[in-house]
Amino acid sequence: MILVLNLAKTFGSFRAVDGVSLDVAPGEIHGFLGPNGAGKTTTIRMIAGLLKPTAGRVSIDGHDLAREPEAAKRALGFIPDRPYLYEKLTAAEFLRFHGGLYGMEGEAAEARAGELLELFELVGWKDELVESFSHGMKQRLVMCAAFLHRPRAVLVDEPMVGLDPRGARLIKEIFRVMSRRGVAILMSTHTLEVAEEMCDRISIILGGRIIARGTVPELHALAGTDDPQLTPVFLKLTGGGAYQEIEL
């Protein structure tokens, strides 16, 4: 459903992403992990159509992002790490606007928006300006928008940032339901517990290259650790195992 082949991005002389390939099947939740500055967000932004790749190609639901950008984007829902929205629109107006961009209008679109606002507990705020929303509320509104057009693939950059435990549990549940319905989810995260709990497969990126890929047991085997947690595996694979004693 989400196919990424030899994707590369260069900023001046700096190669931020260097030949990344990914394949997320329908119904799969694919974790995308890596330390800060590894190239996660750059890759995600290229898949979302926000950055032009230097090389490689991206295909969503069989549509090449460079050649058929509208068809590819129509199949994709995107949740960025920072929920920047139009501050002078109300939540309901924002969803109406978002629906319009995806060709959705009329009662069906209104009903779908109402359903999502209800699901994300924003009904009481639907007629208030976004500028008066907290970070978490904006994040939930972005999620409403991402799911509004019933995407076949979802791209999530740091889904849990700004969400309270209740919101985090809700979003995990929603991802599971969507995955059961055949939606492919590519999720970049720093929260290893979330990745461990939810992802069918995980890709680890370091220095712009994928250095490991597989299920959680496969990654344990690759790292050669007996620790049941994912954190030591991640630290070993990304070379961050050694740490200094911090004096506090």
Partner: protein, 561 residues
């Protein structure tokens, strides 16, 4: 924290230093253009004031009276300007700055925070006044051969003078924020400021100062000065500043008024510090409250747009753009200023008395029709740089919503174009047709003017839209910053060149036609061909400007990132 309060101003200095070191594209052009404009304006102010002061030396007592009156008025105007400016600056420096959270969480003594923020408020609200006063006071001193002490007194006068209205502005802001949420207070202030500017523009124009140049209206001049004298009262700091400087011009040190300025400035600073010490934290906490804002629902807009024969995406973009514009006080309020300028523009033609020179009247009117066309096009360009050029940038960091949606960048930019084109087209036609009518130009020029401004509006709005897409500033805090950016300046330069070329291409065939008609002479066929070619080139230039700008704008958006 032991360091004195200027320590808290260091981030500001360091940021400015880093910005100066990091050169961006267009910095040189911008610096040269704005620096040249600034120096030119300062030189012009210096020359005018020097010439006036020099002339007034011949009138002894009347000259002295006029210099005193002038200084009184100058400082009175600046008093209100700095006070108002300080209201807005204090709102930003004391309540809305992002770094306040960091500083309030740090062990910074409140009085140090107050002093650093107050210094920023004074600096932000007074720099323009000081920059204006510099050539004025220098020219005055040189023209009247003032002793060196005058320049020291000038500094000693201006410093407390700008502190007084800044302190008053800061304390009013504290009161306002205690009553209204900070962002609401900012909107209110912006609106009040704009209405004030509109009132000043209209007032200055409608008192028709050009009458002073008319000898027949000499009795009016006496009344004019009597009116001018009335608001200059000895109880205001503007009067003290004027008197202090006037004394220094004559080699005297007016300790009474200088003392009044310093004691008032110091007393007000102490009082404002006490008020902030007592109420600041409560007001700041209140400013942080996220309240449900009041806003215009615009319920009729969506049913109206739904009737339009556009795609759902185009309709969604249109509704969003109109709502965002009309709910943002900083944006829609600019329309008031625009309306005032349009009124003044048309009024200028109403009071224009070209019949004073009867034998030249016809020629001058025809020439004026083209001056009018050029000026109307220039107004259109100025409106476009303010409202259309920032259209893409105004998407801000939320642009990802459109970019990740299945919407072509061409649809997006065309939507921006039509949203801006329609109202600007109406405005441009309105001012051109009305002013040509008031001028009483021949029908052929009226028709030519109306058609030409239509094409010129299309070209200028297209140029603004396309260049706005090529030079977006998604991180800009407001649209004024976008309009003043490298791209905005480059747009204005290109727009002026386009206007000059088009007016020249239209004026030549039109003048040929009118000249032959006036002399009742037939136009030779080869001349007719040249005239047609000139008109065709003007038309092609407009269409090419429009089309190429939009095309490059769309490409730039597609290649973004």
């Amino acid at each position: 924290m032991r360091q004195a309060f200027p320590w808290l101003l260091l981030p500001l200095v360091w940021s400015a230093r880093n910005r100066a070191r990091r050169r961006e594209r267009g910095d040189g052009l911008r610096a040269a253009l704005f620096g040249g404009l600034g120096l030119g304006a300062a030189a012009a102010i210096f020359a005018i004031v020097f010439w006036l002061s020099w002339q007034l030396l011949d009138y002894e007592e009347l000259g002295d009276y006029l210099v005193r009156l002038g200084l009184g008025w100058l400082f009175l105007t600046f008093l209100s300007f700095v006070a108002f400016s300080a209201l807005v600056s204090a709102l930003s420096t004391f309540f809305l700055s992002e770094d306040l959270r960091l500083l309030l969480a740090a062990p910074v003594p409140p009085e140090r925070l107050f002093h650093s923020r107050f210094a920023r408020t004074v600096g932000q609200s007074a720099w323009m006044v000081v920059a204006f006063l510099l050539p004025v006071l220098l020219a005055l001193g040189l023209a009247r051969c003032a002793p060196p002490g005058y320049y020291f007194v000038a500094v000693a006068t201006v410093v407390p003078f700008v502190v007084i209205p800044s302190a008053m502005g800061a304390v009013i802001t504290l009161g306002l924020v205690s009553v209204f949420p900070a962002r609401r207070a900012r909107d209110l202030l912006m609106l009040m400021g704009l209405l004030f500017a509109v009132a000043i523009v209209l007032l200055l124009r409608f008192i028709r100062p050009e009458r002073l140049l008319d000898v027949q209206s000499l009795p009016d001049v006496t009344a004019f000065f009597a009116t001018l004298q009335s608001p200059v009262t000895p109880f205001l700091p503007s009067f003290w500043a004027g008197e202090s400087l006037f004394g220094a011009l004559r080699g005297q040190v007016d300790l009474l008024h200088l003392g009044a300025l310093w004691t008032t400035a110091l007393a007000l600073t102490v009082l404002v510090r006490a008020a902030y010490g007592r109420h600041y934290f409560a007001a700041w906490s209140k400013a942080q409250e996220a309240r449900k804002a009041r806003f215009t629902r615009l319920t009729l807009l969506e049913p109206l747009v739904r009737r339009m024969p556009f795609s759902p995406a185009r309709r969604a973009l249109l509704v969003k753009d109109v709502k965002v514009f009309l709910r943002d006080t900083t944006q829609w309020s600019q329309l008031l200023l625009l309306l005032a300028l349009a009124l003044v523009y048309v009024y200028n033609f109403r009071v224009l008395d070209l019949d004073r020179i009867p034998y030249m009247s016809r020629v001058i009117k025809n020439a004026y029709a083209f001056v009018n066309l050029g000026m109307a096009a220039f107004v259109t360009a100025a409106v476009a740089v303010r409202f259309v050029f920032p259209a893409v940038s105004s998407e801000g960091p939320a642009f990802w919503v459109v970019r990740t949606a299945p919407v072509r960048m061409s649809s997006f930019l065309w939507s921006k174009l039509w949203t801006g084109l329609l109202p600007i087209f109406v405005l441009a036609e309105l001012i051109t047709v009305t002013s040509n009518h008031l001028l009483g130009v021949p029908l052929v020029l009226k028709l030519l003017g109306a058609s030409a401004i239509a094409f010129m509006t299309l070209a200028l709005v297209g140029l603004a839209c396309g260049m706005g897409a090529q030079h977006p500033r998604f991180g800009a805090e407001n649209v004024t910053q976008v309009a003043g950016s490298y791209g905005g300046v480059a747009f204005m330069v290109l727009a002026v060149l386009y206007i000059l070329a088009t007016v020249a291409l239209l004026a030549w065939p039109a003048s040929q036609y009118l000249w032959h008609e006036f002399r009742s002479l037939p136009i030779a066929p080869h001349r007719q061909a040249w005239m047609a070619l000139s008109l065709a080139v003007a038309l092609s230039l407009s269409l090419a400007t429009f089309w190429l700008s939009m095309r490059t704008g769309i490409r730039a958006l597609e290649d973004l990132g």
